[in-house]
């Protein structure tokens, strides 16, 4: 069987595509939902943070700034000794520097940092990309539940997301 010339076949491809609906999404009006695991923005659960500085140290870009102070807290049990705790004064992430690698979220031993797939936080001024701990805390609302794993995955006991 003689093949159609390539010039004609090409025209067929474009014509077929034209008659199919477009695949694009009109962004500000409709939005695609990013996958649950998307690394959009880092959320901070302040009460879990113990100012251990692990995230700030393992950040490859040095974009996490933490300050804290020590304080006395009432004992956990009746008649116990008062505990020394560390309280967070400042927790800033500079998204102008952040590479979105997720190492900070991973190293956090106390589940204080989470990824949220939220992505709409562009700013007019680069300075406003520095999110302070209140703003990072607000992102907690958008943190999704971790996904179930694919068949065959090892189920870890007490694993964090």
């Amino acid at each position: 069987m003689a093949e159609l010339p390539g010039l004609i076949k090409g025209l067929g491809v474009t014509l077929r595509t034209m008659l199919r609906p477009a695949v694009t999404v009109q962004y500000p009006h409709e939005k695609e939902t990013p996958p649950t695991r998307s690394r959009g923005v880092i959320a901070l659960k302040e009460e879990n943070c113990t100012v251990c500085m692990l995230c700030a140290r393992s950040c490859p870009d040095w974009c996490i700034y933490i300050e804290g102070h020590k304080d006395k807290a009432p004992p956990r049990r009746e008649g116990g000794k008062p505990r020394t705790i560390q309280l967070l004064d400042r927790f800033d992430i500079d998204y102008g520097l952040c590479m979105y690698c997720g190492i900070c979220v991973e190293v956090c031993p106390f589940d204080a940092l989470f990824w949220s797939p939220e992505y709409e936080y562009s700013e007019v001024s680069i300075a406003e990309l520095l999110h302070d701990k209140e703003r990072l805390g607000d992102w907690m609302k958008t943190v999704p539940e971790p996904l179930a794993l694919e068949a065959g995955a090892e189920v870890k006991k007490g694993a964090k997301n």
């Binding site: 692990l54 950040c59 700034y65 933490i66 020590k70």
Partner: protein
């Protein structure tokens, strides 16, 4: 990879006792000798026959072969690889600076078990050199590959610290031109016979050789490390008491109490 082969890689080459660092020696004695690599051993023997005295160090480990030659025999070694071993593919050429990086202390790369002391001076002027050994600060190394035998080889040569200079291999492998330019620019090696050593990545007026260990990385110097402990002590407690591990341990204790 076979486990013992990879472990054997840590051991320094048997032919170069002067290159063995104390640590490497220690592991070498405890491990069994790696099995002979049938594909690479003949290569090594061919090069030994070809180069004789000029082959000053070698190593076969972990499915790879390293050969260290005298820098005056650099070009000769490459010719031997090309013509005798059939290395038709030029992979890369670059350089190593073995100067111990005292500057990169615990502050830059966080190391909870950091030893703040500078590395001890070894047998060869403080340079702890790697596989196949080395006597000087600089080494040029290149990797060649034979697409018919599917075997590659890493060639190394020690270069003088004051005037790192070696013959160019551009006339043997045309692809080496850019790699030699890069090594010239990044490490300051001179390649005799190169058609035009000039900057390839950096602007023409750039001074210094960025990949040398004594070239400062400014981005890590102009800004203080945010990982420095910044937890204010409680009144009455000595300043700076809470270091990294302290905070870590305390936090862990608090968490354990909750659970």
């Amino acid at each position: 990879m076979a486990a013992d082969a990879a472990a054997g890689e840590e051991a320094a080459a048997g032919g170069t006792p002067e290159a063995e660092s104390p640590a490497a020696q220690a592991t070498a004695t405890t491990e069994a000798p790696a099995p002979v690599d049938e594909r690479r051993q003949p290569w090594l023997e061919a090069l030994q026959a070809e180069l004789g005295e000029a082959l000053v160090g070698h190593e076969i480990a972990g499915g790879d072969v390293w050969v260290r030659v005298d820098s005056r025999a650099w070009r000769r070694a490459v010719v031997a690889c090309r013509d005798r071993l059939g290395c038709d593919y030029f992979c890369f050429l670059s350089g190593l600076d073995w100067k111990a990086d005292v500057d990169l202390a615990a502050e830059k790369v966080w190391d909870p078990e950091a030893q703040p002391s500078a590395p001890a001076a070894g047998a060869n002027g403080g340079y702890r050199t790697g596989v196949a050994g080395g006597d000087t600060r600089f080494q040029v190394f290149a990797r060649l590959f034979s697409t018919s035998a599917k075997v590659g080889i890493t060639l190394k040569a020690d270069l003088d610290e004051e005037d790192p200079r070696v013959e160019s291999i551009v006339s043997l492998y045309r692809g080496a031109e850019w790699h030699e330019r890069e090594a010239w620019e990044m490490l300051g090696f001179t390649f005799d016979g190169h058609p035009g050593l000039r900057h390839i990545y950096l602007p023409g007026e750039f001074e210094g050789h960025p990949l040398r260990k004594d070239f400062p990385l400014l981005s890590r110097d102009v800004k203080p490390w945010p990982g420095l402990v910044d937890v204010e002590a409680m009144p009455g407690e000595p300043e700076g008491g809470g270091d990294a591990e302290g905070a870590d341990a305390e936090g862990a204790g608090a968490e354990g109490g909750e659970g």
